[in-house]
């Protein structure tokens, strides 16, 4: 059963990346994708919370937890909005990799703020993250030189040709 859940995690996390591309392919507006992704997930998680801990314990929570969650949710929301916008200019293969590489940031912050041990493996992986980002930037730069029309539009969180 443990491997079933492992497979579920793998397919779901991959499926999320694929659906970001599908949304772009289907000309979904980035602001709408961002808004309804968080809204649906919020409603689903409320259902899970109620079924796990019951209505009474659902509302008894330290305010600091909610404050941290709301701020981090805000950052996540900006991330999804800019990712969806970036997909209009770039590829899902590279964009999704960069989003996944962002796990380096909480690791760095943990080292700086909580004085966690760095270690050789972590130091090496940070170096690889930087090299990877530089190579992806270089790939994109070459793509823009060869196909400048891809870079014409500006970011828009606004109504477009698909209405709103």
């Amino acid at each position: 059963m443990a491997y079933f859940y492992l497979l579920l995690g793998l397919i779901s996390l991959g499926g999320l990346g694929v659906l970001h591309k599908v949304a772009d392919h289907q000309a979904c507006r980035p602001a709408a994708v961002n808004m309804f992704l968080f809204l649906w997930a919020g409603l689903l998680s409320v259902g899970i919370l109620l079924s796990k801990v019951g209505p009474e314990r659902s509302v008894s929570v330290p305010w600091r937890i909610i404050a941290v969650a709301v701020v981090c949710g805000g950052f996540g929301s900006v991330a999804i909005l800019t990712l969806q916008q970036a997909l209009r200019h770039g590829k899902i293969s590279t964009s999704w990799l960069v989003i996944n590489l962002s796990t380096a940031i909480p690791t760095v912050l943990s080292i700086v703020i909580y004085r966690e041990e760095v270690g050789l493996r972590r130091s090496f992986s940070f170096l690889l993250v930087v090299v990877s980002l530089l190579l992806l930037w270089w790939d994109r730069k070459k793509g823009e030189i060869m196909n400048p029309s891809k870079n014409r539009s500006v970011p828009q969180f606004l109504p477009d040709e698909h209405g709103g």
Partner: protein, 139 residues
Amino acid sequence: MWFRLILIAFITNGLGAFGLRILAGMGFADRYEFHYLVGLYLGGAAVAGLAYFLNNRRPMRRELVVTAGMAGCSILGQIGMMMALQRGLPGFVVFPVCVGGGMLLVLGTAVVFFHERLSAAGYLGIAIGFVSLILLAFP
């Protein structure tokens, strides 16, 4: 333009993920994880609502359908990893397999169905990024 946008996404996504570490630092990680998820998603929806309602009104049906699938994947991904860990699989198996495997799934789909092609630098960047992802995913 892509690089600027994806760099913002890289930083903000990383900052958003740091919340779980703050929660652990407060000593609440194992007691309020579902409360945290609700706050995270609804907080994100509130910020997303500002950007959306600024210039948009009615959603399109395909936006509602695709995002419902994304939300389902997001939550099932978390539950899948959590349950696999609770059923005895070690973290050094669960995190690299789910994160790395999910990444490969996206790459495969991008190449096969969306016909994405990269330069040699791009493929090398993905290979190096994939290795660093696996290294970072180890607990």
